[in-house]
């Protein structure tokens, strides 16, 4: 009995350690974002006299609003493109058995292991050739490299779980195949589309290497690049308060999304990985 209680206390201590390890950096960023001037350089575990000017400075000293809008546009475009392509591919790979199906699935999934730098030179040339350098559409196109494999995989998995009878019944009723896909199958796999779309949105929102390489001006820069390049009066005096404020601003929506859809994301990650 006593041993069990001790074990229980140990478990809660472990949970406490887990919480501290996971949340402290986020908490510290929030505290620092509310300090400016000398307050930033003394260690306070609670902002004694919260200053909100870092938050307004972020928008005043650089086009951070523009950067946020760019990130929203790129992420939305990426999600739209990925889901449109994955819906067709998911139908083909999940509902029809044809020769070469496994090979095609393997081809799509193999791109998961492509390191972004391995295609950087060719992608740079492609994007410049299409006239999409320093352009948000070019970024969204390049992001398909990492969003397509898992969106196709998640949608295919969900498509497979739809009972054959449902599709057969609609076909026998004389519905043309595209209508069966559009108004029967797609609504049934909506949870899959939502999960895949969320993961694609988060991936595009957080991407850095392509955004750094394929954009040049503030007008086309996304948020991660803007945050990485925030600089102050001198190389040695980085405006840490502002950097932390910007970090909090771009992290909040993503953490909120993750919290609202946590079950979906967790199962999506697990399904993508365990079955992959």
């Amino acid at each position: 009995m006593r041993r069990r209680r001790l074990a229980r206390i140990g478990l809660y201590l472990g949970a406490g350690a887990f919480l501290a390890f996971t949340l402290f950096p986020v908490y510290w960023a929030a505290v620092s974002s509310l300090e400016s001037g000398a307050a930033l350089f003394t260690i306070d575990y609670w902002p004694r006299d919260p200053a909100w000017e870092n938050y307004s400075d972020v928008f005043a000293d650089q086009p951070f609003g523009r950067n946020i809008a760019n990130s929203v546009i790129v992420a939305t475009l990426t999600v739209g493109l990925s889901l449109a392509l994955a819906a067709g591919a998911g139908f083909a790979l999940g509902r029809v058995s044809f020769r070469g199906r496994r090979l095609m699935l393997a081809v799509v999934l193999a791109t998961t292991m492509f390191p972004q730098v391995a295609v950087l030179a060719g992608m740079f040339e492609l994007i410049r050739g299409l006239g999409l350098y320093n352009n948000l559409a070019g970024l969204a196109l390049s992001y398909l490299l990492f969003t397509l494999p898992f969106t196709v995989w998640v949608v295919t998995t969900f498509m497979r779980q739809v009972p054959a009878e449902i599709e057969a019944a609609a076909l026998i009723d004389g519905a043309p195949p595209w209508r069966v896909v559009w108004s029967i199958l797609l609504p049934l796999v909506r949870p899959g589309l939502v999960t895949a779309g969320l993961l694609a949105f988060i991936g595009a929102w957080n991407e850095f290497l392509f955004a750094l390489t394929f954009t040049l001006t503030d007008a086309a820069r996304t948020v991660p690049v803007a945050i990485a390049l925030i600089s102050g009066a001198s190389q040695y005096e980085l405006p840490w308060g502002r950097i932390m404020a910007a970090s909090v601003i771009v992290t909040l929506p993503i953490v909120a999304l993750a919290a609202v859809f946590q079950r979906r994301i967790a199962t999506g990650l697990a399904a993508g990985a365990i079955k992959g």
């Binding site: 949970a15 083909a92 730098v117 391995a118 295609v119 492609l126 896909v181 953490v255 365990i274 079955k275």
Partner: protein
């Protein structure tokens, strides 16, 4: 019942429909993965510079010879392997501990699981900046905490000291990626039937026996997948290192080395050769891992 005579044309029609539905996605994969990879491969054999792609000349294996004789390249390979091995093993051990904890039936488990998603969702660039600030040599909270605990006698320049910077970056990656491993292993743990555990307990298995003899073997597929995914990510790490330590030799990985050659030095030939070598390195690890995985789960279905 459909009569046999009508089945064959129906199936052929369906196959054609499937290819038509699949074609746009395949075209996209060819455009953003296949074509750029082939171009990178062919540029690796030329003297192309960023401004003169059109007039590039064939130079054979010169770029590969140059890269393979560059001590900075080998330093980058070494850094990449150290980063990958250390971060993935730490993430696996911590992730397993946290997954067992989250599976132990504590109150507020749902909330703990939601918390686990936070570092995963934080953009890598943000994680890098936050930790860079915490590691700050004069005003950083890490030094403050360690000084307070008496672990260090004077402030340490975590990211500037070449002996420490790689470890500091690895710790940041562990913070960012452990939750991902935790969630994967937790999903694996939840597939283990409770009666199996109960039966082992009845047979007198202690906690350690239970872990080593029952849980770990049953968890193997999840562990292999988590390691594969994490290793692929760790081997191509870029954002974290670029933001935290810039192009410092002490932490430069193969991705950093490659981008520096391609973009900063505008040397498309040598940079592409480095890109091809990076791809080969990661490809070998991936193939080895997939083979290790095959008997356990059966990937190709």
């Amino acid at each position: 019942m459909v009569r046999p005579a009508t089945v064959a044309p129906l199936r052929r029609h369906r196959t054609r429909l499937a290819w038509a539905a699949l074609a746009p996605a395949l075209a996209a994969v060819a455009a953003v993965a296949g074509w750029p990879l082939l171009r990178t491969l062919s540029l690796a054999f030329t003297d192309a510079r960023l401004a003169t792609i059109e007039t590039a000349r064939w130079v054979g294996l010169e770029n590969f010879a140059w890269t393979l004789s560059d001590p900075d390249w080998w330093r980058a390979v070494f850094n990449t392997l150290v980063f990958a091995v250390c971060s993935v093993s730490l993430e696996l051990v911590l992730g397993l501990a946290f997954a067992l904890l989250l599976n132990a039936g504590l109150r507020g488990q749902g909330a703990l699981r939601a918390v686990a998603l936070v570092p995963w969702a934080v953009p890598t660039v943000v994680a890098a900046q936050v930790w860079r600030w915490m590691y700050h040599d004069v005003h950083g909270v890490v030094n403050e905490l360690l000084l307070g605990l008496g672990v260090i006698a004077q402030p340490v320049a975590w990211l500037a000291d070449p002996a420490l910077s790689l470890a500091a970056v690895i710790l940041t990656d562990v913070w960012k990626a452990t939750p991902f491993v935790t969630l994967l292993l937790l999903a694996g743990l939840q597939t283990i039937p409770a009666p199996v555990i109960a039966a082992a307990r009845l047979d007198g298995a202690g906690p350690l026996d239970l872990l080593i003899r029952i849980i770990l073997p049953l968890l193997r597929p999840a562990i292999v997948v988590a390691v594969l995914f994490r290793a692929l990510d760790a081997l191509r790490v870029f954002d974290l290192i670029y933001v935290m330590t810039s192009n410092s030799r002490a932490t430069a990985t193969v991705s950093i080395y490659t981008r520096q050659a391609l973009i900063d030095f505008q040397d498309l030939g040598a940079g592409s050769a480095a890109a091809v070598l990076t791809f080969a390195l990661i490809g070998m690890v991936a193939v080895a891992a997939v083979f290790a995985l095959r008997p356990a789960t059966g990937v190709a279905r």
